[in-house]
C-alpha cells in the first residue's frame, strides 16, 4: 500500500499532464472551431516539427543561447548577491538600481538592444542575461543575509580571511536559497528566450510559433506550445533533481518555483 501510494504521488504530475490534455481534447471537441485543434491533432504535429531539420536547428540554437546566457548570468549574479548580503554598503549601493530595473520587462529591451548590437545571438543572449540575473541576485542576497553570524565569527576566530569566509561559509550556507533563485532564473530564461524571439522574429522557437500563427497553421501553433511547455517542465524537473542532490541536508522549501516573466 505504501509502495502504491509512493508510486501515485510520483506519477501525479504525469497524471495531471494527461488530465489537462484530456480537458483540452474535450473542450476542442465541444467548441469545434478551426483555430482550436484537439490535443491529439496537436500532439500528432509535434514529430513533424522536431523531424524538420530547419526547425530543429532553430530550436537547438535557441537552447544554446539560453544555456550560455544562463551560465554567464549565474556566474556574475551569485558573487554579487553574496557580497550584497554580507556588506550593508554594497547592498545599499545596488538595491535602488535593481528596484528600478525590476518592473522593466527585459524582453522589451530587445528593440533597443537590436539597434546597438544587431539582430544576432549577442542581443538575444544579453536580454536573457538581464532577465536571469535579477532573481538570482535577489535570492543570493537573501540567502547570504540569513547566514548565522556565529558561524562567521568562528570562521574569523579560526583565521579565515574575508574572502575565504565568503566562499567557505556564506556560499554553502546560502546554497539552498541560491538554487531557488537559479530555478526561478531557469524558467525565466526560457520565457525571455521565447519572448525575445517573438519580438525580434528572426529565428528560434518563438519565431516558429508566431510565424505559424500568422500563416494560420494552427496545428503547428499548438504543437509548438506543447514543445515549449515540455521544455519548461523538463528543465524544471531536471534542475529540481540536481538541487535536491546538492542540498539534501537542508529542509525542503518551496518545491514549486515562483516563476515569472
Amino acid at each position: 500500500m505504501i509502495a502504491g501510494r509512493a508510486l501515485l504521488s510520483r506519477s501525479a504530475p504525469l497524471l495531471a499532464c494527461l488530465g489537462l490534455l484530456a480537458i483540452w481534447q474535450v473542450a476542442a471537441l465541444i467548441l469545434k472551431t478551426d483555430s482550436f485543434p484537439t490535443a491529439l491533432e496537436a500532439l500528432r504535429a509535434v514529430p513533424s516539427i522536431l523531424g524538420d531539420k530547419e526547425s530543429l536547428i532553430n530550436i537547438l540554437a535557441s537552447l544554446r543561447r539560453m544555456a550560455i546566457a544562463f551560465s554567464v548570468a549565474v556566474a556574475v549574479s551569485i558573487p554579487l548577491g553574496l557580497m550584497m548580503g554580507r556588506n550593508r554598503y554594497v547592498a545599499s549601493f545596488f538595491n535602488p538600481l535593481l528596484m528600478i530595473t525590476y518592473p522593466v520587462p527585459k524582453a522589451a529591451l530587445m528593440p533597443i538592444i537590436m539597434l546597438w548590437l544587431g539582430v544576432g545571438d549577442l542581443a538575444k543572449m544579453l536580454v536573457i542575461f538581464l532577465g536571469v540575473s535579477l532573481p538570482v541576485i535577489y535570492h543570493s542576497f537573501q540567502g547570504a543575509r540569513a547566514v548565522e553570524e556565529k558561524m562567521l565569527w568562528s570562521g574569523a576566530a579560526m583565521g579565515l580571511s574575508a574572502a575565504q569566509r565568503l566562499i567557505r561559509i556564506v556560499l554553502p550556507a546560502a546554497l539552498p536559497e541560491i538554487l531557488t533563485g537559479c530555478r526561478t532564473g531557469l524558467v525565466l530564461a526560457l520565457i525571455t528566450m521565447v519572448t525575445s524571439e517573438m519580438i525580434a522574429r528572426q529565428s528560434g522557437a518563438g519565431n516558429i510559433l508566431f510565424n505559424a500563427l500568422d500563416m494560420g497553421q494552427y496545428e503547428t501553433v499548438y504543437a509548438m506550445i506543447i514543445v515549449i511547455g515540455a521544455m519548461g517542465i523538463g528543465l524544471d524537473a531536471a534542475f529540481e533533481k540536481l538541487r535536491s542532490r546538492l542540498v539534501r541536508w537542508s529542509e525542503p522549501g518551496f518545491d514549486i518555483p515562483l516563476s515569472f516573466a
Binding site: A16, Y102, P103, V104, A108, I228, P257, F260, A261
Partner: protein, 255 residues
Amino acid sequence: MNVRAVTTDFLLGIVPIALAIALWQAISSFGYAPVTLLPPPGLVFQRLAQQLFTGSFQHAIGATLLRLFAGFSIAVVVGVGVGLAAAASPAINAVVRPIVRVLAPLPKVALYPAMLLLVGFGHESKIALVAADALFPILLSTYYGATMVEQKLIWSAMAAGTPRHQILFKVVLPAAVPSILTGCRIGLVISCIVVFLAEMITSTEGLGHLLVTAARTFQAVDMFVPLITISLLGLILNGLLQAVRAYLLRGFPEV
C-alpha cells in the same frame, strides 16, 4: 536605524543611478553613439514630460493599466481562493498540487498564441495572459501561508466556540495575509512585465504598442519613453501595495 544610516544608504543608492545617467549622457555628448541610436537622457525625459500631457499617451497608459488591473484582480481572487481551498481540504490539495506543479514552470507566454486564437486580439487575451502569469506566485504563497498557520491559533478559536466553517475565514485567512501580500507583490511586478510584453507582441494600443511602433520607425527617443513609464508605473504600484500592506498589517507583530 538612525537618520544618519538612512541618509548614507540613500546617498549610496543614488550613486549608481547617477553614474548610469552620467555615463549615458557622456556617451551621447562625446559622440560615441549617434542620437538616432542613443538619445541623450535630457531629450528622453523632456519627451516623457511632454508626452505625459498628450491625450494619446494617457490613453495608452489607461489601456495598459486596465489590462494590468483586470488580470491582476482575477489572479488574486482565483489564487487566494484556490490556495485557501487547497490548504483547507486534502482532497482538493491532491488535485491542485500536481496540476500546479505542471503548470507553474510552463512558460505562459507560449500560451499567448492559443489565447489570441481562443478569446480574440482585444483586451481579453492580454488580461488572460496577465492573470495566468500572476496567478501562480499568489496561489503558492497563499497556500504556504495558510498551511503555516499555527495550530494553537486554530485550537484556541475552536475552544472559544468558533464554528468549524468560520475558522477558515476568521483565523486562517487573516493569519496568512502577510504571505499572501508577498505573493501579490511578486504577482504585481509580473503583471507589469507581462502586460507590456503582450502589448508588444500583438496590440493596437497600450505602452507596449507605443514601443513597437517607435521601433518600426527607428524613433529611439520614443522607444525609451514607454520603458521608463512602465518602470515608473511599477514603482508607483509597488509603493501603493506597500501602503496597503502597512494598513492591513498594522496590528501584526514584526513583519
